[in-house]
Symmetry: C2
Subunit: 201 residues, 2 copies
């Protein structure tokens, strides 16, 4: 048995999810920096490893591979306090995990990528992402009113999945000041994960 290997790009929130869960649960791992922008997920060598051609991708200690950020988190966190023991709370966590991939990442993360790395802003697609992303942030703000975390009263994978790109939303021209519950929740989760707010981009 060797050690967990995480192939990831540190500019990708999806990749950091896997890193944060491994760190939080004290699972030893090697991080292999793999740049999406530089095409390193599309080389023949990487595609032989992971036909999905995406990061994050992990090679588990037993040599088997796994893709999809939320699937990786669920596998690493199995049996830990990051997954609620109560069946209904666990179902609510899944609700947020699937919502994150369907409604949050394709707006908040995509707009941040366009603005920050492609210098694309103000076009029709940007305006669509602005509207849909603000709707997602509003939904989060309403859910967090009077709550410390998304599910129950403790940090779960729902918070880790959602904080990854939400803390960078300002880079995508979203105004986080308009969502005060989201703002205080970001600070709380950053504290739990030992992240420094000034690292947020």
């Amino acid at each position: 048995m060797s050690k967990l290997t995480i192939y990831g790009d540190t500019i990708s929130g999806n990749c950091l999810k896997a890193k944060w869960v491994a760190e939080r649960l004290r699972i030893p791992f090697d991080w292999k920096e793999t740049s999406v922008v530089a095409g390193e997920t599309r080389t023949p060598a990487f595609l032989a490893l992971n036909p999905w051609g995406q990061v994050p991708f992990v090679v588990l200690a037993d040599g088997r591979g796994l893709a999809q950020s939320n699937a990786i988190m669920l596998h690493l966190a199995e049996g830990s306090a990051l997954i609620p023991g109560d069946a209904y709370d666990r179902a609510k966590m899944f609700e947020w995990l699937f919502w994150e991939q369907y409604s949050h990442e394709p707006t908040i993360a995509v707009r941040r990528f366009r603005v920050t790395f492609q210098r694309l802003r103000g076009d029709e697609r940007d305006r669509e992402l602005e509207t849909r992303g603000n709707a997602a942030l509003k939904r989060m703000d309403e859910a967090l009113a009077g709550r410390r975390y998304f599910v129950g009263d403790a940090l779960t994978l729902a918070d880790i999945a959602l904080v990854a790109y939400t803390r960078w939303a300002g880079d995508g021209d979203y105004d986080l000041a308009a969502f005060p519950h989201v703002g205080s929740w970001i600070a709380r989760v950053e504290g739990d994960l030992g992240l420094r707010a000034e690292d947020a981009r």
Copy 2:
């Protein structure tokens, strides 16, 4: 304790996922037909029940609500053979469930909705959905070569999630004949679920 209630629209594959899992596991339920096209998910009464304003939405036997098709399936199927007992197989099932929501539903289901219900075809968005949807179908076809199901050798939630819109892909102008492994898998899963192929639209 009362009975499970599923609010769903029978033209939505996401809604049928919940129905199929309940039927397969012999969980008694009431089906409340709720038309998206007719705006029934946006009425004040429905929004009071489900602020997400979406179907499927279930009210569990204990009165608590749950949204997101894959989260609903996971909750209903907990402890059943539809979720692999092996940790790695379970992780692979999650890989497909998240991929379905991120890469499959937003292309295959969206194009079918545009073509069938909005009579939108041939525009730039249609061509983008054609390319991305065909890439998703190709990925499924490769994964299914030499396999009966997506994970292990038995029906899991991965198959149920993916068959829901794949069996209707022809309605979205995709040519399923180009993906023979997908075609035989659809017939197999339809058989397992007791669906009649001629019901496919």
